[in-house]
């Protein structure tokens, strides 16, 4: 031991009579205090990033436990065989449904409903509050529901569990209201990333669907949380993807048509599924309350009936997706599985059974993609790409059509496949599906569900597509008189009297000023020492605007100014037009869709 260590040894520093243990305790305490003081002395933004990592680790651990619980439940209830005995297939989802209904209604009332919408509601309505009971409720009910064969997935509950954990940590540390509101999406991204084993897709999803905007303040925290949760999850469950993705072959230009057809089919199927939910959900909601206790059981029974012949539709179905992606099903079976999974997922979802839609949506997309690919390859054997390729693209296609999140869908496929060559077919297919879905189904799924739950959350799709009115639309062109400071006074007075309604602007080296006509009148009476425009008293400098700036920005700048100059971005001395408060208000009035 060196002298230095002896010096810092608490026992050595202890006053006479104090034991070595007490001294060591004191030292630990002082280190702890200095560390916590330093930690809490951090700016909140820095602490927020640190917390994001902590949230990510918590969410990752929770998701690992959740996935293990689902698998364990499935093994115990349905057995380890790929095709369990008929009686088991019928009874397990039915009885499981009864138990889940009781738990979800009586014990954990917050566990029903969409996790995405609950997280969104936490951001926009409940000031970031997600009750921690929801985390436990989601864990228990969803593990039982999915494990007993209900056709639902673990991603949406994982997202909500992450949000719940984050909210709890944020509230416990008494972060500012702004940060508490933003911490739920951070946890949501962590939960989803761990459940999907795809951090980029999770980050994009949360930004695209939950927050709805690229906010620099929260983006860093979301990315950190997603990465730390995935790292945590992988250290327990391995780095393997949820399903093995086949090699993606380079696609020729002429093959893209085949993927466009897949987009058409995927879009049509997503519309059918959405329409069914839109039709059935309000009707089922009107049924007497006591039926809610039986609905999950009824759904479980129906799924069991399907599962006798097609056990693949039960549960999340990742292993089945894996098989489809490796060309292990014929086209007719793929098509049957896609149709039956839509039915089974509809039953589970409409019955109010807690669980997510992501995995079933991927399942349906993979089956549809595989089926379309098989049929296309039958008629055009020269088509590039395997059935697995079509199944992979099909997942993104149906995902984009059903959930209306095109950017996440494209990146999800690329992230899962780890192959950039997939981007062209995926983009074409997802965009076709997205536009078909948008054309035939007005409300996206999450917005529709929020409205059924009595919430009006901001529509991310509307926000995304809303075009903010810009200055260019409201400004007046050629409606001002411009003078240089060196211009003679006669020019100013002459022009001003010729066009009495035009404002008088003076431009000097990109600086704009406004001459009041009253001042000009007074000047005309007192002509003693005034020879040039520069000698005239002018107000300013005026704030300038560019034609592409929004009217909201213009409104903030216009203040008490009579008019503001709208100048060219490349040349600040070039006037594109002028804008007044009245122009802005008129433009707002004429903007449609508000």
């Amino acid at each position: 031991m060196t002298d230095a260590t002896i010096q810092v040894n608490p026992a050595a520093q202890s006053p006479p009579g104090e034991t070595g243990k007490t001294g060591r305790f004191k030292q630990i305490r002082s280190i702890w205090e200095s560390w916590t003081n330093r930690l809490f002395a951090m700016r909140e933004d820095q602490l927020f990033l640190l917390l994001a990592v902590l949230i990510g680790v918590f969410a990752g651990l929770a998701v690992v436990c959740f996935r293990v619980a689902i698998e364990w439940t499935q093994l115990d209830l349905l057995g380890s065989s790929f095709s369990p005995p008929i009686l088991r297939v019928l009874l397990v989802p039915t009885i499981g449904g009864l138990v889940v209904a009781f738990l979800a209604i009586r014990i954990f009332p917050g566990s029903q409903g969409s996790g995405v919408n609950r997280t969104k509601a936490a951001v926009y309505i409940w000031n970031g509050y997600v009750p921690f009971e929801t985390v436990i409720g989601k864990f228990v009910t969803c593990a039982l529901a999915i494990g007993s064969g209900q056709s639902l997935g673990p991603e949406d509950p994982s997202l909500q569990m992450g949000a719940g954990i984050a909210s709890k940590i944020g509230r416990s540390l008494n972060l500012s209201q702004e940060k508490i509101r933003l911490i739920a999406p951070v946890g949501a991204a962590a939960g989803l990333a761990a459940a999907f084993n795809a951090p980029i897709s999770a980050v994009l999803f949360v930004i695209e669907e939950v927050i709805g905007a690229w906010s620099g303040g929260v983006l860093g925290a979301i990315v950190l949380a997603a990465v730390s949760s995935v790292v945590t999850m992988r250290s327990f469950l391995g780095a393997d993807s949820l399903f093995r993705v086949p090699e993606f072959r380079v696609v020729r230009a002429q093959d893209l048509l085949a993927y466009a057809i897949l987009g058409l089919v995927g879009g049509a199927a997503s519309v059918v599924f959405l329409k069914w939910i839109a039709y059935a959900r309000p009707r089922i909601d009107r049924w007497p309350h006591w039926t809610k206790f039986l609905q999950p059981a009824a759904a479980g029974f129906l799924i069991g009936v399907i599962g006798i012949r097609f056990p693949q539709v039960m549960g999340a179905g990742y292993s089945v997706i894996d098989q489809a992606m490796h060309g292990q099903f014929a086209w007719d079976l793929l098509l049957a599985l896609a149709g039956l999974k839509i039915l089974a997922t509809g039953f589970s979802f409409l019955s109010g059974t807690p669980g997510g839609m992501f995995a079933p949506v991927l399942f349906i997309g993979a089956m549809l993609g595989g089926a379309v690919g098989s049929v296309e390859q039958h008629f055009f054997p020269g088509l590039a790409g395997t059935i697995g390729t079509f199944a992979l693209v099909g997942m993104g296609t149906f995902f984009a059509g059903f959930l209306r999140i095109p950017i996440t869908s494209v990146f999800m496929v690329i992230e899962l496949s780890g192959n950039y060559t997939a981007i062209l077919p995926v983009m074409i297919s997802t965009m076709v599906a997205f536009f078909i879905s948008k054309r035939f189904q007005k409300l996206p799924l999450f917005e529709m569900l929020a409205r059924y739950d009595g919430m009006i959350l901001p529509s991310i799709e509307e926000q995304r597509e809303q075009v903010a009115p810009v200055v260019e639309k409201a400004m007046q062109r050629d409606a001002a008189l411009i003078f240089a400071p060196s211009d003679p006074l006669e020019k100013l007075t002459g022009s001003a009297s010729a066009k009495p309604e035009f404002p008088l602007l003076v431009n000097s080296r990109r600086e704009w000023r406004l001459i009041d006509r009253e001042d000009l009148k007074q000047l005309a009476e007192d002509r003693t020492q005034t020879h040039a425009v520069a000698d005239v008293k002018a107000k300013g400098p005026l704030p300038t605007l560019f034609p592409d700036q929004t009217l909201e920005e213009a409104l903030q700048l216009v203040g008490d100014w009579q008019v503001l100059p709208v100048v060219n971005r490349a040349d600040g001395s070039k006037l594109e037009g002028i804008i007044a408060l009245a122009d802005i208000l008129r433009a707002f009035r004429n903007t449609p869709g508000e």
């Binding site: 700016r43 436990c65 790929f82 416990s172 500012s176 327990f236 393997d240």
Partner: protein, 393 residues
């Protein structure tokens, strides 16, 4: 944008008035607790999954060995579902799929495995078997060759020989003799000496590919090693017969036990070999009288055959007989009848050659215009071919 430092300190007390330090302590303790629970749960889960996977795989192995490929398929599927990255499970699943006739699925699994280990002998061989069942000869040859020159974890020499044998069997079965020939030669060269079983297999394949000389060598090798193998004797007999070595063929056939000798193919060849040996006047060491007797007999047989053939072409009562080469040959024979007798041949042995040539011509013409022929005629044609071969040499 971050707020000014002074305004943005974290408040001293969190939710429910707990101190921030306490919250942090609880957080870290919870993290440690959750970490331990997760580690335990994940470990138990992995253990259970591995156990289940192994159980299903072992069940699959016993079902497959018991010949129940359908049940084995279900077992392997279950095992594979628990361990989807296990190449051994995947390989056996593919085998079971192939055994159940689901060649496309089996091929999909195997191709995926092949992309991971392109040099694997096992995978290439399994793929070769599948594409062979689909009659894709070129692909089958490619996979078989990859298997032959691929990596084998155990008994590489044995496995490579087996793969080559399968390739030969496939090509011979397909009648692709051109491709089969080099493969068979390589198989014969790679067959260990003294391994009667393998030598016999190679010999039989050579017989099926009609590579008589190599087949005879192979079987002779077995017999010379002291093995009294009836299969080898029979194969050697057949090879010798087809090589025109009738005396050898007879000697081999005569060594066969009765049940083997009575096999139709063997019996026919033995009878024909005896007939050829009994009717050929050109065999070395024959006495002149015997040569003369055989020549006279050959002429008689050929004349009878030619006469019957001409009569068949020109039935009695036909207004105008058709002139033919066969008829002119018969006329020649008729003209020489006085000199070309058994005594005449004894007196003038030089007549034997032209007489036999005429007999061969008559038999050849009759065979081309009248088709079916008796054993004696056939024997004469064989002798003719044998003589032509000898004179050509």
């Amino acid at each position: 944008m971050a707020k000014p430092l002074a305004k943005n300190r974290i408040m001293k007390r969190g939710e429910h008035g707990r101190s921030r330090e306490l919250v942090l302590v609880v957080c870290f303790l919870s993290l440690i607790g959750l970490f331990s629970v997760t580690a335990f749960a994940a470990r138990m889960y992995h253990k259970r999954v591995h156990t289940l996977a192994d159980q299903w795989f072992n069940q699959g192995q016993s079902d497959f060995q018991a010949g129940d490929a359908k049940k084995a398929l279900v077992d392997y599927r279950n095992a594979f579902a628990f361990s989807p990255t296990n190449p051994v499970f995947q390989f056996h699943l593919a085998q079971a799929l192939a055994a159940n006739g689901d060649l496309l699925q089996a091929q999909a699994y195997l191709l995926q495995l092949l992309s991971q280990s392109p040099g694997s002998g096992d995978i290439n061989l399994a793929l070769a078997r599948i594409v062979a069942r689909q009659s894709r000869t070129q692909d089958a040859m490619m996979y078989y060759n990859s298997a032959i020159y691929g990596e084998w974890t155990d008994q590489p020499i044995e496995k490579r020989w087996g793969a080559r044998r399968e390739l030969c069997e496939y090509l011979v079965g397909k009648g692709a003799t051109t491709q089969a020939e080099p493969a068979l030669i390589a198989l014969a060269d790679n067959t260990p000496e003294g391994d009667v079983e393998k030598e016999r297999t190679v010999g039989n394949l050579l017989l099926r590919a009609q590579m008589w000389s190599r087949a005879l060598d192979e079987f002779r090798g077995i017999l010379e090693s002291g093995a009294n193998d009836p299969d080898a004797v029979e194969g050697a007999g057949i090879a010798a017969y087809n090589l025109g070595q009738y005396s050898k063929a007879i000697s081999y056939f005569e060594r066969l036990p009765k049940d083997r000798a009575s096999k139709p193919e063997v019996a026919d060849q033995l009878r024909m070999a005896r007939l050829v040996m009994g009717s050929n006047p050109f065999l070395p060491g024959l006495a002149t009288t015997e040569k003369a007797r055989r020549t006279a007999n050959a002429l008689r047989v050929a004349e009878g055959r030619a006469q019957a053939c001409v009569e068949k072409a020109n039935p009695p009562g036909s207004s105008q007989p058709q002139p033919s080469k066969l008829a002119s040959l018969l006329t020649t024979a008729e003209m020489q009848k006085r000199n070309w007798t058994e005594r005449g041949f004894i007196r003038t042995p030089d007549l034997i050659n032209p007489a036999m040539d005429l007999a061969f011509q008559m038999e050849g013409e009759a065979a081309s215009s009248c088709g079916a022929l008796t054993d004696e005629d056939h024997a004469l044609l064989i002798v003719a071919q044998s003589k032509a071969g000898n004179s050509a040499q």
